[in-house]
């Protein structure tokens, strides 16, 4: 995995795992690879993985079972909350950038709608 070295690596690992969970690569209740395996897969060090996982355990996205390993939560309310959080973060980026171009809220909404319609039309071709 390629990291942006300006952003804390543990934070990027969390984002990566969130993405896997919401995209369905990791399903609710799935066991996560062992810490060292994750470190090898992502080419980061074990402590950084540990830090990302322990934050995800604290926020209850991941459940740690003593002696068994770490599992994606099967709490649907928590997963919905996570999805909402990530969607809002992405939208915040878009909103900020469009705002910087002096678009009003109404114009942003209209542009977004137009974009989706065109994209939809392109896909139906």
């Amino acid at each position: 995995m390629k990291f942006d070295d300006k952003i804390p690596i543990y934070y990027q690992i969390k984002q990566h795992l969130y993405h896997e969970i919401l995209a369905g690569t990791l399903k609710p209740g799935d066991k996560l690879p062992a810490v060292r395996q994750l470190a090898i897969d992502l080419t980061v060090n074990v402590n950084t993985i540990q830090r990302a996982l322990s934050e995800m355990i604290t926020e209850k996205t991941i459940v740690s079972q003593r002696g068994k390993g770490n599992f994606v939560t099967d709490d649907t309310a928590r997963l919905a909350e996570l999805k909402e959080q990530l969607v809002m973060e992405q939208l915040a980026l878009v909103y900020e950038q469009l705002h910087a171009l002096n678009l009003s809220d109404a114009e942003i909404l209209a542009s977004l709608k137009r974009y989706i319609e065109r994209k939809g039309a392109a896909q139906h071709d």
Binding site: F3, P8, R36, T43, V46
Partner: protein, 236 residues
């Protein structure tokens, strides 16, 4: 947390020239630490002082031991194989390590050699630069110690070999051990570092957690490191 390395008030002179002064550094267990600094800043010298190959004034403790002989038994340094003849076969070097170091684990070496694709039947003189460096890494990591010192393992080798070496470090480094790795290209190893130590102006100018640098300065490790030389960063 256990201190793997503790250096106190270390000063080192060679030929009347002051190379390092007032060096204080403590590394705890289970860390990968990048030792950064310009060429000639004293990175190799610091490693040689830690191994006991060079003698300075001050205290150096490795896993609580102080004499060079005791320290040597707790650390593994990436020796450059200079003592071996070019006609020596890799397998003979491995046998030598096995004889000399009681903590050398042939099984670990075998796994590392497999991963790094080292042919033990080759003679040292027939190894490419990258392959020679891989062999040095495999020999160094095959010992079971508390402190690993890798002196510029990436200089002059291709990026595929570098990636392979980085993976082998993550995979084979014992959990409670600490690894100090020197380099002057920080970007490639930045994601695997817990902390960085910068040697500058004959002393340790910086010792900080890598993710702390990222979150507090918003800079990547390379930019942060370079900013130390422009005097643009407040380092305390």
């Amino acid at each position: 947390m256990t201190d793997i390395l503790k250096i106190e008030n270390l000063t080192y002179k060679r030929n009347q020239r002051l190379l390092l002064q007032d060096v204080n550094l403590t590394l705890t267990a289970g860390k990968i630490v990048g030792l950064l600094g310009e060429n000639g800043a004293g990175k190799t010298t610091l490693m040689r002082l830690i191994t006991g190959s060079a003698q300075g004034h001050g205290t150096i403790m490795v896993s609580g031991t102080q004499t060079p002989t005791e320290r040597k038994s707790h650390l593994s340094f990436s020796e450059q194989l200079r003592g071996f003849n070019r006609n020596t076969k890799v397998a003979q070097v491995v046998a030598f390590y096995h004889t000399v170091y009681p903590d050398f684990d042939p099984q670990r070496f075998h796994e590392l050699a497999g991963f790094l694709q080292i042919d033990v039947n080759l003679r040292l003189g027939a190894l490419s630069k990258g392959m020679r460096e891989k062999l040095i890494i495999a020999l160094t990591l095959a010992r079971q110690v508390d402190l690993y010192l890798l002196d510029e393992p990436f200089s002059g080798i291709d990026s595929m070999s570098r990636k392979k070496i980085i993976s082998s470090i993550i995979q084979w480094m014992p959990e409670e051990a600490t690894l100090l790795i020197s380099d002057h290209y920080v970007t490639e190893i930045a994601p695997i570092l817990d902390e960085i130590v910068v040697v500058k102006d004959q002393t340790i100018a910086v010792h900080r957690a890598a993710d702390e640098i990222r979150s507090e300065s918003g800079m990547d490790i390379e930019d942060y490191y370079e900013s130390l030389y422009e005097g643009g960063v407040n380092r305390d």
